[in-house]
């Protein structure tokens, strides 16, 4: 009996094994906003596992306890009950409480993630195009743009200073793309005719992978980029070195 129940929970254990120490497979979020989403993810994941464990447990119990045994009369019927009004009220109420709690947490995180800083440290204009990226820093007069994309071609590099809020303005002039940095736990669609504005505040130095995540045609798979997060001094040095070199490849 216990063995069967643990068999039913096996997929969850496998998933737990692939997750490292409570991250449940998710990157921890290398920005203030991403870290917030990561915390929310942990809560949602634990709630999901708790609900799944309860439901799987009940299913396993019914299947094992109420299986037809060899000794049973072939014609034997199950118990005649069809309703339990009190029980039904309980299992309407409990999921309702859970989703209200989850919604409240999600709503608050959403407000913080979507919040715009009145005084961002650096502004970047991101243009997605088929199939590449153009990162321009209007205050610094410099632009980084993709090589023509294809298998094995490295995308351009977006350089951001650590611990400063970066204001991203995202546009597209052809089809819909999406700017996704999995390490930041964030993506936003680039829609022609819409200027998307959002903030990211990197908290960890390093190189993060980025990709277009909205299907945009032939070379969608190769529409990649990287984000390099560096200390402010290094960012300033990079900016002055690159200033004026607009249009050149990264």
């Amino acid at each position: 009996m216990r063995r069967r129940a643990s068999l039913a929970a096996a997929p969850l254990l496998v998933f737990g094994a692939t997750a490292c120490s409570g991250a449940f497979g998710m990157p921890r979020g290398a920005t203030e906003q991403g870290r917030d989403v990561f915390d929310l993810w942990q809560t949602f994941f634990v709630a999901a596992v708790a609900v799944a464990a309860l439901v799987y447990g009940l299913i396993a119990w019914s299947l094992i306890r109420y299986r037809r045994r060899r000794s049973d009369d072939a014609e034997a019927l199950g118990a005649p009950f069809r309703e339990r009004r009190g029980l039904e009220a309980v299992y309407v109420a409990i999921p309702l409480v859970i989703v209200v709690a989850l919604f409240t947490l999600s709503f608050r995180t959403g407000q913080r993630v979507d919040d715009l800083d009145p005084d961002p440290g650096v502004r970047v204009h991101v243009e997605a195009f088929a199939w590449g990226w153009r990162f321009s820093y209007p205050d610094l007069d410099l632009t980084v743009v993709s090589e023509p994309s294809g298998p094995g071609v490295d995308g351009p590099e977006l350089v951001l200073p650590i611990d400063e809020t970066a204001r991203i303005e995202l546009v597209s002039n052809d089809v819909i793309h999406a700017f996704w940095v999995p390490g930041f736990l964030f993506k936003r669609d680039a829609i022609p005719g819409v200027i998307q504005t959002f903030d990211v505040t990197p908290t960890e130095a390093g190189v993060f992978q980025g990709a277009c995540s909205e299907f945009c045609g032939l070379n969608h798979a190769y529409m990649r980029f990287t984000v390099r997060v560096v200390p402010s001094t290094e960012f300033d040095a990079w900016a002055s070195e690159r200033a004026g070199a607009s249009g050149a490849a990264a």
């Binding site: 039913a8 997929p11 497979g25 990157p27 989403v37 929310l40 993810w41 949602f44 999901a48 799944a52 439901v55 299913i59 019914s62 037809r68 034997a76 019927l77 199950g78 118990a79 005649p80 009950f81 069809r82 309703e83 039904e88 299992y91 309407v92 999921p95 989703v99 989850l102 919604f103 999600s106 709503f107 995180t109 959403g110 088929a130 298998p151 052809d174 819909i176 999406a178 996704w180 999995p182 390490g183 736990l185 964030f186 993506k187 936003r188 669609d189 829609i191 819409v194 998307q196 959002f198 277009c212 995540s213 909205e214 299907f215 045609g217 032939l218 070379n219 969608h220 798979a221 990649r224």
Partner: protein, 552 residues
């Protein structure tokens, strides 16, 4: 395990004027709801084999980094047609087929309310399906390769100039028209053609779910057809409705499309919730637990599903995320009620693990994963990370494949004896179930991991060194295991028709009216109708010693 029980044989079906016509022409010209239902289900299954072959090609291409099998353009056509075929032609078509076959039988009617309209809706469906398949291979300018939701501007004439997208639009419009006609038929039949004694509160849960599915289709398909028509005008007649260069707005298309697209998800799952609710009580040898709760939960899901469409658009930044997030989370409540009702139905039963029951249990186990990951996706901030990633791909395959498709197999094994008078093999069926269950989880569980590691969907190739290789290889192996399961299923069907072992009228000890007539049923379904005193007329007929409706 034999589950046949000795019961007095039903009188032989009268022959003569009611004898079934034979031959291909009789099938093409038929207006009999049972034949149309079978045509729907067989065509849908053929589309499943096509869609499965496309998925197989996708999995081979993605088995390892680098391009091995197809070009990027072909890959983009593969997933576009795979998605369209599986959603609208296989799962949608099969749901329509089941409703066609079962609703008149379950309400005790001789046929659908409008038999000729019914035939027309099938032929619209078949014609639309053929156009959609043609859209993949249309040579002039390339096949349809814009994804199954065909977002403009990518699906506009500038970026997709070929005739493929046009054929796709026409095919989708025909399939939508077919759904509308079929929905009108199902609703009219269930409301107006019920046998004496068959009140609404005695309708089998499958029929209730078919009614709600039909209503969703009636509300959701027209805006989508409008969107497709506007897209066609933009493409071919110089319109600018969705063209930002001409003052149009591509976001409007997304609203119209998902106003269909999300109810469509429930159109693709509610009939199969119904199937599971028919199968579980029969193999638990109990009545459905909390019948009224099931009906209310289905109505609630139907109503809520009309107000959640923009949760597909959280990352567009131009919709009210909290509102759509809240509506989406609320759907977890009626869905949870259904799960507890299913458990309550098994609780205290005498559960027989026949093949339909195995698939129903597989449905419960898989769909729950789809459900809890759906709750994660309902949170807009979490969606910022997992939307359009392989996490999302895994999620919806857990609902649609692990859920609806497992229920389709449960339905096939359950009603095959009724429709054809012969049974599929229990022994082979167990293997089919085992291969599909293991193969399914091996295919889609690793995709959750790949998505969390940052793998976007719809990519023909992926870089190495980002942790995508192992999950993708496991996925491809799993797809191979599943295809063996599907082939074995075809063997099962083949041998069942060769053996022609008589199934008996009621091989499982069924509850609803279709088990109170012959297998297969006569031309107008019933020679005599049993008295209908509860939601289990066939059960009451076979158990005259019990009080109908006892246990409330």
């Amino acid at each position: 395990m034999s589950t046949t029980v000795d019961r007095p044989a039903a009188p032989p079906a009268p022959h003569g004027p009611h004898e079934e016509p034979r031959g291909v022409v009789s099938w093409i010209t038929t207006t009999d709801h049972k034949r149309i239902g079978i045509l729907y289900c067989v065509s849908a299954f053929a589309f499943f084999l096509v869609g499965g072959a496309l998925a197989g090609a996708i999995r081979v291409e993605l088995a390892e980094p680098g391009r091995q099998l197809v070009t990027e353009q072909t890959f983009n056509t593969l997933f576009t047609i795979h998605g369209t075929v599986m959603l609208f032609l296989f799962v949608g078509g099969f749901g329509n087929g089941l409703a066609n076959y079962l609703v008149p039988l379950q309400v005790g009617a001789p046929d659908m309310a409008f038999p000729r309209l019914n035939a027309l809706s099938y032929w619209f469906f078949a014609g639309g399906g053929v156009l959609i398949l043609l859209s993949a291979v249309a040579a002039a300018g390339g096949g349809a390769a814009m994804g199954w939701y065909a977002y403009p501007p990518l699906s506009g004439s500038g970026f997709s100039p070929g005739v493929g997208p046009d054929l796709w639009i026409l095919g989708m419009a025909l399939v939508a028209a077919s759904s509308l006609l079929s929905g009108i038929n199902v609703i009219t039949t269930a409301f107006l053609m019920r046998a004496p004694g068959m009140t609404m509160w005695r309708l089998p849960i499958f029929t209730w779910n078919a009614i709600v599915t039909a209503m969703l289709g009636l509300v959701a398909f027209p805006p989508a057809v409008a969107a497709f028509a506007l897209l066609f005008i933009d493409r071919r007649f110089g319109g600018h409705v969705f063209d930002p260069q001409g003052g149009g707005d591509p976001v409007i298309y997304q609203h119209l499309f998902w106003f269909l697209g999300h109810p469509e998800v429930y159109i693709l799952v509610l009939p199969f919730f119904g199937v599971i609710t028919e199968v579980l009580p029969v193999f638990s040898r109990k009545a459905v637990f909390n019948y009224a709760g099931f009906v209310m939960a289905t109505l609630a899901i139907g109503a809520l599903s009309m107000g959640v469409w923009a949760h597909h658009m959280f990352t567009t930044g131009v919709v009210d995320n909290p509102f759509f997030s809240a509506m989406t989370l609320l759907i977890a409540v009626p869905t949870g009620i259904k799960f507890f009702n299913w458990i309550g139905t098994m609780w205290g039963g005498r559960i027989r693990f026949a093949v339909p029951m195995l698939f129903a249990i597989g449905f419960l186990l898989n769909f729950l994963i789809g459900g809890v990951t759906g709750v994660m996706l309902a949170s807009a901030p979490i969606d910022y990370q997992v939307s359009d990633s392989y996490f999302l791909v895994a999620h919806f395959h857990y609902t649609l494949m692990g859920g609806s498709v497992f229920a389709i197999f449960a339905a096939i094994y359950f009603w095959f004896p009724k429709a054809f008078g012969t049974r599929l093999s229990e022994a082979i069926g167990r293997w089919v179930f085992a291969l599909l269950f293991v193969g399914f989880n091996l295919t889609f569980w690793p995709q959750f991991v790949a998505g969390l590691r940052g793998m976007p969907r719809r990519i023909a190739d992926y870089p190495s060194g980002l942790g995508f290789e192992t999950p993708n290889l496991l996925s491809t192996v799993g797809a191979g295991v599943m295809s063996v399961g599907v082939l074995l299923f075809l063997v099962d069907v083949w041998t069942a028709f060769r053996r022609r072992e008589p199934a008996g009228d009621d091989p499982w000890g069924g509850s609803s009216l279709e088990w109170a007539t012959t297998s297969p049923p006569p031309h107008h379904n019933f020679v005599t109708l049993p008295p209908i005193r509860s939601e289990r007329p066939a059960f009451d007929l076979h158990h005259p010693e019990l009080d109908p409706g006892a246990g409330r």
